[in-house]
Amino acid sequence: MGLRSSREIPLGGVGFKLSTEVKTGDWRAMRPVIDQNKCTKCLLCWLYCPEPAIIWDGVKVEVDYNYCKGCGICAHECPVKAISMIPEVGGE
Amino acid sequence: MWTASNIVAVAAAYGGKYAQSFPAFGPERSGAPVLSFTRISDEPIEAHSMIYEPDILVILDYTLLSPKIIEGLKPGGVIVTNYPGDVNFVFESLGIKRGDYRVLLVPASKLALEILKIKATNTAMIGGLLRLGYVVKFEDVKKAVMERFSGQVAERNIILIERAMNETIEV
């Protein structure tokens, strides 16, 4: 994506894009993986995710790996230990 | 001090003139000797400097009378001063002779105490200026005083100015 000229950007340096375009998932060293069998859908992981990168679609809880930075708060806070942190490298 | 200067300027404006009034650009403390200036003209006034060679010098406090105070006064200029009742005191203090300048004496302190019950000689001195006839008109001064003060204070000041005008003597 090319950078814009001074004529092509809005006034006063206002942000003209949303950070949802920025995929911070590539920061991740550890990947949270949810064991859907253990998950009780209490949504504490959703609550405590700072990105936010936990999605509740009404049926199940999922991680949005586009943004998840792999901090592991979800895994620690999960009361039933349904989330495990797997190293990214070789973890797939 | 600045009050007198402002009232004269406002009165001049009511009389259709251009006028300018400003304090000396020095620290002001209540009661300390201060200077203020008034320019009156038929033309718009451009200068924004202090006045160094006045046509008229108005002295509110006769204890300030000294030869130094009239430095810069134009030859043939006018001195309008408050005085303690003693005519010679004025000439001696200023170090001038009769005839050097036009000198108008206003019993401002006496009248202010009598009418306002305070020693504020500001407005009384305007009476002295009115006596000159050509600076501002009494009607315009009255209007300016009414604008500056209200009620009894305005009324008393107008009485004071009128008395001062009538009791000013030229020596």
Partner: protein
């Protein structure tokens, strides 16, 4: 686009859009499923806060308490720089940053503008809230004058301090909010200095002394308590101040996954008691701190808080036992004092 996603889709990252007009305040939701289905954070993902930072949690949880149209102000700081790297913004609400020491003054200006525009019929909302999210540097130190001025004037602004207890944005330098004995890059642990030698400024107490309508403490770990307090802060007529402790993995030397846990321990040890204050009620303990007051056996020793933080690691060495004792005594004294003042503490 609207504030309340109706479909149960992945489109959970939304702008908050309020068209002009009158409306009821958004209801508070305490059921997590309903919350997850009906609310989104005002902070969008893709922000560049560190992994495990809890400042975004402060913002996210606070936004679950928002009533409707809201303008957000941030002073310079971690939260500000990481959410506004040009051209990408992470803010789903109108947001402004202008400088470091002036968030409260900027908010006052916005509040005044809202009043003037409403008065003259040019702003067609019945209410617009103004909320500040500021760090400890911008609150305790450089921004304190503006904050105090805003409080004195009584401007209707909710000021939320996310306190990570040092200048983290510039690389962990000590601030007026850094606790005693904490290591920072400007209070290194040396042979004669055991980290910072002063206690942190009692900022929330100072705001109480301003006699504003509402002051409270909170942490994102105690989310229900925090959301309720944010709503109260918005509802009062006049300035409100909420002091939220917000852990910083980098600065506190805490494992990322323990970011929320450490806040829980701060409260469990009474290092950071949860309370609220208003001129009508005085001090009231809340949530876990109220439970501890009722059942003192729940109170944990200060080591429980210190032991998971690298910034206090030196205190756990045997020769520094005396320092830990000092810290415990200080925490106890502050806690006892709070118990005396809190009208709902058991006598």
């Amino acid at each position: 686009m609207s504030t309340q996603p109706t479909s149960k889709t992945r489109a959970q990252y939304k702008l908050w859009i309020f068209e002009p007009g009158k409306r009821e305040p958004l209801p508070l939701i305490f059921n997590l499923r309903q919350l997850a289905e009906q609310r989104t954070s005002i902070m969008l993902p893709g922000h560049r806060m560190c992994a495990g930072c809890t400042a975004p949690l402060v913002v996210k949880l606070a936004s679950f308490a928002f009533r409707g149209p809201t303008i957000v102000v941030s002073p310079t700081g971690c939260l500000e720089v990481s959410t506004s790297i040009y051209p990408w913004t992470s803010w789903a609400v109108p947001w402004i940053h202008s400088a470091f020491e002036n968030a409260a003054a900027t908010a006052s200006g916005i509040y005044a503008a809202i009043n003037a525009l409403k008065k003259t019929g040019r702003l067609k909302y019945d209410h617009v809230d103004v909320v500040v999210f500021a760090g400890d540097g911008g609150t305790y130190d450089i921004g304190f004058q503006a904050l105090s001025g805003m409080a004195e004037r009584g401007d209707d602004v909710l000021y939320i301090l996310y306190d990570n207890e040092a200048y983290m944005n510039t690389g962990i330098q000590r601030s007026g909010g850094t606790p005693k004995f904490a290591w920072t890059t400007t209070t290194p642990v040396g042979s004669v200095m055991p980290g910072k030698i002063q206690h942190k400024k009692p900022i929330a107490e100072i705001m109480v002394a301003h006699k504003i309508p509402y002051v409270a403490t909170g942490t994102p770990a105690h989310w229900l308590d925090f959301i309720k307090k944010v709503r109260k802060g918005l509802e009062v007529n006049g300035p409100a101040f909420i002091h939220a402790l917000a852990s910083c993995d980098r600065g506190w030397r805490v494992e990322e996954a323990l970011s929320v846990e450490v806040l829980r321990r701060a409260v469990d040890t009474c290092y950071f008691p949860l309370w609220e204050w208003s001129p009508e009620t005085g001090y009231l303990l809340t949530d876990r701190s109220l439970a501890i007051a009722r059942n003192p056996s729940l109170k944990q020793p200060i080591e429980k808080y210190l032991e998971i933080q690298g910034r206090f690691r030196h205190l756990l060495r045997p020769e520094n036992r005396e320092l830990v004792k000092q810290l415990q005594e200080y925490v106890d004294a502050v806690w006892e004092d709070l118990l005396r003042r809190a009208s709902n503490a058991p006598r």
